[in-house]
C-alpha cells in the first residue's frame, strides 16, 4: 500500500525532460528524512547522500525523474496547439489521449483527420484544449509549455498497477524505498541517491552527476520491457518474476562482477530475481559507466509492459524485490 501511494504521488507530478522542477521539489521532500544532505546540480539532478565513514566507497544509485511529453511549438489561429515530442514518443500510443499542461490546462492530442495510423509523424498531431481562438489559447498556454499524457495510477489484479509515467517514477519509488530501509543499516560507504534529469533525451543528467560523484559502483533503477504478452518478441523477462538484473541493453553491458554479485545475493537471500537482456533502448547505466574514469555498473530493472504508453503496467512485487536486492547489495560491499 505504501509503495502504491508513493508511486501514485510521484506519477501525478508531471515533469518532461529539462523541466523537472516540480518532481524535484517533491522528491527533495521525500528523500530529505533519509539522507545527510542533498543538492541540485547545474543540470537539475537531485543528488542526496547518506555518508558512511571515511574508509568507505562511493556507491551511486540512480533513477531518472523526467518523463516523455510534448512541447508547444506554435499556436494556430484556430486555437489548436502544434507540439514537438520530447523523448521517445510512440505516436500510435499518444493518438486520441488526454493530455495536461504543466499549468494544469487539459486537452486532447489527436492526429489530423485524414492521416492514417501508418503515416503518423509528430507534425500531423495537434493538441485541442477547447479554445475558440488563438487569443483564448494564448491566455492559457505559451510557446515552450509542456504537455504530458494525463498522469494516473490504478490498481489492477494482485499487485499489478497501471498508469503513467511508471517510466521511471517506479525507479524513483525504489530509490526512496532503499533510502528508507538503509536508515536502520550501519553502512561504511557513502551512498548517493540520484534522481537524474533528461534521461529520455539521451541519458544526459546521470553523466554529470556521475562525473561529480566518481562512484566506485553504480546501480541504475529503471523500467525494462518484457516477453510475456501475446505475440511479442522473445525476451526472458516477465512481470511478477522479480527484480530484473540487467546483463545488457542497447547502451551498456553491465559489469560482470556486479551482475554476478546481484544474482548470488538474490539466491542467498531468496529475493525474486530474473536476468534481463534488453535488445533496444538505453538507460542511465551507460552514462554512469563512462563518466570520468569510469565505474563498475549494474542495473535493477522493473519489468514493465507497454512502456511509453498511457497504460504502462508493472507489478509492485517486482518493485519490492528491487528494493530488497538493492539494500542487500549495498550491505554486501
Amino acid at each position: 500500500m505504501k509503495l502504491y501511494n508513493t508511486l501514485k504521488e510521484l506519477c501525478l507530478c508531471p515533469a518532461v525532460s529539462g523541466r523537472e522542477e516540480k518532481i524535484r521539489a517533491k522528491l527533495e521532500q521525500l528523500i530529505a528524512p533519509f539522507c545527510d544532505e542533498y543538492r541540485t546540480d547545474a543540470l537539475g539532478n537531485l543528488i542526496a547522500v547518506r555518508k558512511g565513514n571515511r574508509n568507505g566507497k562511493r556507491i551511486m544509485l540512480a533513477a531518472h525523474m523526467d518523463e516523455i511529453g510534448f512541447l508547444v511549438t506554435f499556436i494556430e489561429d484556430s486555437g489548436m496547439l502544434r507540439v514537438a515530442p520530447v523523448g521517445g514518443i510512440s505516436l500510435a500510443a499518444a493518438a486520441y489521449s488526454r493530455v495536461v499542461s504543466e499549468n494544469g490546462v487539459k486537452g486532447v492530442i489527436v492526429p489530423e483527420d485524414k492521416v492514417k495510423a501508418a503515416d503518423y509523424k509528430s507534425e500531423v498531431f495537434y493538441i485541442d484544449i477547447g479554445a475558440k481562438s488563438k487569443k483564448r489559447a494564448e491566455a492559457q498556454v505559451s510557446i515552450g509549455d509542456f504537455f504530458v499524457a494525463t498522469p494516473s495510477l490504478d490498481k489492477l489484479l494482485g499487485d499489478r498497477v497501471c498508469g503513467r509515467p511508471l517510466d521511471d517514477r517506479v525507479g524513483c519509488t525504489a530509490l526512496l524505498g532503499i533510502a528508507e530501509a538503509m536508515q536502520s543499516v550501519q553502512c561504511e560507504h557513502d551512498v548517493y541517491y540520484v534522481f537524474s534529469v533528461q534521461e529520455e533525451v539521451g541519458c544526459r543528467g546521470a553523466k554529470t552527476a556521475a562525473f561529480a560523484i566518481a562512484p566506485h559502483v553504480a546501480l541504475c533503477f529503471d523500467v525494462t520491457a518484457t516477453g510475456d504478452t501475446p505475440s511479442c518478441a522473445p525476451m526472458a523477462c516477465s512481470l511478477g518474476d522479480g527484480a530484473a538484473i540487467k546483463i545488457k541493453d542497447a547502451s551498456v553491458i553491465c559489469d560482470e562482477d556486479v551482475t554476478r554479485r546481484l544474482c548470488e545475493i538474490a539466491k542467498q537471500k531468496k529475493i525474486k530475481a530474473q536476468k534481463e537482456i534488453l535488445l533496444f533502448g538505453g538507460t542511465d547505466t551507460s552514462a554512469m559507466q563512462l563518466a570520468g574514469a569510469g565505474a563498475a555498473v549494474g542495473a535493477l530493472s522493473i519489468p514493465t509492459r507497454y512502456i511509453h504508453s498511457g497504460v504502462e503496467m508493472c507489478d509492485l512485487g517486482d518493485v519490492q524485490s528491487c528494493i530488497d536486492l538493492g539494500v542487500e547489495f549495498i550491505k554486501s560491499i
Partner: protein
C-alpha cells in the same frame, strides 16, 4: 629488432583469448601473466580497459597512449529453449548471412562447442535470412543439461581457428582489433626504455564494438595523456568494394585525415613514416574516423590523436584476413612513434591550463 614470428604468434595467441565486447575482464589473467615481464605495470579499470605501462625513466616525461580495442564482435545467450537450443543476440556488428552453420564456443560454466542452426537449402522456401533473434545455437545437449552449464548472459564467440594463406596473409578471427593490440604490445615491449621518448601507455580498450563512444574514454580520462595513437583495422580493398572507401593490402598502413584527429600530429606521423621508410596511405575520414580516435579526441581537456589503420578483409567474420607486410609497417611505426623525441617535444603539454 622486431621479430616477425614473435608478432605473428602474439597475434594468434591474443586473438584466441575470448574477449567478446563487455567481457574483457575475463582476459585479465592472460594479459597479466603473458606481458608482466615486459611492462612496469598492468591494470584493468572498472569498465574493462587494460593499461600496460612502460616508463621511459625520465622525469616529467610526456605520456603517450597507444590504443587498440581489445573487445571482439561475438554473441550473447538471451534465452534457452526447452529442447536445449540457445537463443542468441549479436554483440557488435555481425552479418547474419555469415552466421548460420558457424562453429562457436559458448563460454559458460564450461566451454562448450556449438553450431548455429541452419536450415538446409532443400527445405528453404525463399532466400530470406533469419532475423538475428531467430538464430539458435545447437550444443547437442538437451534443455535440462544445457541449463546447468549455460545461463542467460553467457558470451558466445566464433571458434578460434588460425592459419596462413600464401604471400604472408594471415587468416583467423578477431584480428579486429586484437591483431593491432598484439602488434602494439610487441612494438612497445621490444623497445628498450632508454629509447622511449615518453612514458608509454598501451591501452587495450573495452566495448568499442558495442558502444557508440567506446569504453576507451574512461581510461584516457584517468591517464590524461599528452598525445595518443589509435590503431584499428581498416577496410581492405577486395573486388566488389569501391576504391575510395577502402585501402589496398600490402601497401602499408593507413593514416586518417579527419576533423576528429589532430592535424599537427597526423602530419608529423606521416613525416615520420617518410623518414623511416614506412609505407602508408593517407585516407580521408571527414567528420569522424569510425574508430576510438573520435572519442579519445574529446576526453578531458582534449587529446591530440592520430588514427592509424591496418588493412583487413572479411571484417567481422571468423576468417578475417591481414597481411604480414602491413603488420610489420604498423609495428615499425608504433616503435618510431614512441621513440621520436621530436614528436614528444612537439606534443608535450608545457603549460598548466588556467581558467
Amino acid at each position: 629488432m622486431l621479430d616477425k614470428d614473435k608478432i605473428k604468434q602474439a597475434i594468434f595467441s591474443l586473438c584466441s583469448v575470448m574477449s567478446v565486447s563487455g567481457f574483457e575482464k575475463r582476459a585479465t589473467p592472460y594479459i597479466e601473466s603473458t606481458f608482466k615481464d615486459n611492462f612496469d605495470s598492468i591494470s584493468c579499470d572498472a569498465v574493462g580497459n587494460h593499461l600496460l605501462v612502460k616508463k621511459c625513466g625520465k622525469e616529467n616525461a610526456p605520456k603517450v597512449i597507444i590504443d587498440a580495442h581489445m573487445d571482439e564482435v561475438g554473441m550473447i545467450v538471451t534465452g534457452i529453449t526447452d529442447d536445449g537450443f540457445l537463443r542468441i543476440a549479436p554483440m557488435g556488428g555481425l552479418d547474419v548471412s555469415i552466421m548460420q552453420a558457424a562453429d562457436v564456443i559458448i563460454y559458460g560454466k564450461e566451454e562448450l562447442r556449438g553450431v548455429i542452426a541452419s536450415t538446409p537449402p532443400h527445405l528453404k522456401k525463399d532466400d530470406k535470412l533469419p532475423a538475428p533473434d531467430e538464430l539458435l545455437v545447437d550444443t547437442g545437449l538437451n534443455g535440462k543439461a544445457v541449463k546447468e552449464l549455460v545461463d542467460i548472459g553467457t558470451p558466445v564467440g566464433f571458434a578460434p581457428v588460425y592459419g596462413e594463406l600464401l604471400n604472408g596473409r594471415l587468416i583467423g578471427k578477431s584480428f579486429d582489433d586484437k591483431a593491432c593490440a598484439a602488434i602494439g604490445i610487441c612494438a612497445v615491449a621490444s623497445t628498450p626504455p632508454e629509447v622511449l621518448a615518453a612514458d608509454v601507455y598501451v591501452l587495450l580498450s573495452a566495448t568499442e564494438e558495442t558502444n557508440r563512444l567506446g569504453g576507451v574514454s574512461a581510461a584516457v580520462f584517468a591517464t590524461d595523456p599528452d598525445y595518443a595513437m589509435v590503431i584499428d583495422v581498416n577496410l581492405a580493398r577486395v573486388p566488389d568494394t569501391k576504391d575510395f572507401e577502402t585501402v589496398e593490402m600490402d601497401k602499408g598502413i593507413s593514416i586518417s585525415h579527419s576533423a576528429a584527429t589532430h592535424r599537427g600530429l597526423t602530419l608529423a606521423t606521416e613525416e615520420l613514416c617518410r623518414e623511416k621508410d614506412i609505407p602508408y596511405t593517407p585516407v580521408a575520414a571527414p567528420s569522424s574516423t569510425g574508430t576510438n580516435a573520435a572519442t579519445v579526441n574529446l576526453v578531458g581537456l582534449g587529446v591530440p590523436v592520430v588514427d592509424v589503420g591496418l588493412p583487413l578483409a572479411c571484417m567481422h567474420t571468423y576468417n578475417e584476413v591481414i597481411s604480414m607486410t602491413d603488420i610489420c609497417s604498423l609495428a615499425s611505426l608504433v616503435r618510431e612513434f614512441i621513440s621520436s623525441d621530436k614528436l614528444a617535444d612537439k606534443m608535450a603539454r608545457r603549460e598548466d591550463i588556467i581558467i
